[in-house]
């Protein structure tokens, strides 16, 4: 695999960040995890990842943070051509209706996880979103059968004409 697909976690509170990264442990082998404490730091991470020829597959983002808030960060990310395909998930307890509408309309928010989350819920959301990402980007599904939704990836192979040779 020449290209790495990253999971980016943006969260200002250290304990919450640690809990999130811990719960994502099983994905780490296939999808390296990058963390950022603020929107500003996250932008730098995004820049570095793409500059190295890699990409962000999924962003898990808090909303209320010092500096730019999570929704505005996601909107900015969506506007950027190279990165707008990354799956975007808000993990927050404090995004109001207005912010959430903004996120759905302008950042193409893919999922909203309300704090507190459970490990099972988080894993399920991450699996679904990364499976979507792999299929939308038309990457070879075989590399991800072990970790993502193997039934959906098989179905994708069935309908997308991979053949004998």
């Amino acid at each position: 695999m020449d290209r790495q697909i990253y999971i980016l976690v943006v969260e200002d509170e250290l304990e919450v960040m640690e809990a999130l990264v811990n719960d994502l442990e099983q994905f780490e082998e296939f999808f390296p995890i990058e963390s950022a404490n603020s929107s500003e730091e996250a932008k730098q991470v995004v820049k570095d990842v793409y500059a190295a020829g890699n990409e962000i597959g999924l962003v898990l983002c808090d909303h209320v943070m010092p500096g730019q808030n999570g929704v505005d960060f996601l909107i900015e990310l969506q506007a950027n051509n190279a990165q707008h395909e990354a799956k975007k998930v808000l993990v927050t307890g404090q995004a109001g209706l207005e912010d959430t509408i903004q996120a759905i309309n302008n950042a193409k928010l893919d999922y909203y996880i309300a704090k507190p989350w459970t490990k099972e819920q988080l894993e399920e959301v991450v699996t679904t979103q990364l499976t979507n990402y792999i299929m939308e980007r038309k990457y070879n599904p075989m590399q991800y059968m072990m970790i993502l939704d193997s039934v959906r990836l098989s179905e994708y192979m069935r309908t997308h004409k991979i053949t004998d040779h």
């Binding site: 059968m145 098989s154 004409k161 004998d164 040779h165």
Partner: protein, 466 residues
Amino acid sequence: MKLNKKQLIGIAIGLIGLIIPFFFHLEGLSDAGHVALGIFFLAAAYWMLEPFPIYATSVLVIFLQVILLSQQGFLFPESTAEYSPNNYTEFIGTLASPIIILFLGGFVLADAAVKYDLDRNLTRILLSPFGKKPGSILLGLMVVTALLSAFMSNTATTAMMMTVILPIMARISKTDPLRIGLALSIPFAANIGGITTPIGTPPNAVVIGALSQQGINIPFGEWMILATPLVVIALLFAWFLLLKMFKPEAASVEIDMSGKFNTSTNAILLYLAFGATVLFWVTESFHGVKSAIIALIPVVFLSLSGVITKEDIRKLPWEVLWLVAGGISLGISMKSTGLAEWIVGSIEWSAFGTIALLVVFASVSVLMSNFLSNTVTATLLIPLAVSLATSGIAGDGFNLIIVSLVIGVSASMAMMLPISTPPNAIAMSTGTIQTSNMAKAGISVGIFGIILVVIYALFYWPFILN
């Protein structure tokens, strides 16, 4: 386009192979034969080392033959005593040869079947009589997989069956060896099942294409009569082997196969087209209409009726057709330049008996296709076998059809490694099996396959063909 070191080495080896015959004079080989040998080296190097996709090498092969070996090419515009060049249309015509059209018909049917879920619904119906016991479920899965892969690509069949077995596997204890047995049963059955019909898998097309160049037509139904008994035995062996190697612990297995047949007009038109086409194919020997002509029926009918659309046509696996056409095209100049005969003549075949020759061809074919594409294996081996048989060097017992079948069928018996076939790769990707599991079971099937093929070549095939 970025090339890595391995690709660059592969490209260089191919080019050297292409050029070398220009600098040496090989006794008894025509000038054109030297050129054909160069093209053969290049094709073999690129197909085996894969610096380029194999279908790209195939069109390169057609192109090189047109510009170097055809009447319209640079080197041999005039006929000479030792070589009368083929018209270029013969080389490019392979892209629409009868076997390619037959495959096109198969692709269109398979594609429409997937589109309207015919494959999954048939699986549901056919699996239900097999009950809940692990052993019989395993047999049921293998029978259905083999049956579908006889008409659809082995790979597409495997992907579909994965959507059936993955939920089953999720409900079985992680330590139950049955999980490994299940994961291996699908690719094994798909590989073996592909042998059943001419359209089952591309190596069959290579065999039929090569034979038709020799003026031998194998009707669809006759191929099935030749192949089916072998497929049944190989399948039963694989089932028995997997059941013994990976003894199930679970007492019963639940399959949830809910769903119902699509009853839209388009779907019903597809069912009719599928049924009619297969019926006409299988009965070719009775009505005499060639299978390639029948293959046009679903193509015409399904596109006229809008069951398949422009988008569906664009998404057909055209590269497989290129691959097969390139191989057939290579066979043309190997024959017309006298290259194939020269290669054959340079080996002391009479030292081998007929049985030894069959064993060698079967073993080499299984071995090669474990590491290479099955189609490439058949493509590289068949011209040798054909000239060996037609030249009479190997003796009367060495029948052209039989040795071609030996190579074609053996190419589908390779399932030792994840890279052996795309179905193996899919099974491996689930993470349920270790490479060693696949290797042990795959080697057993491969060796059994060689023995089986040789026995059929000695007793059953001559009996049917005469």
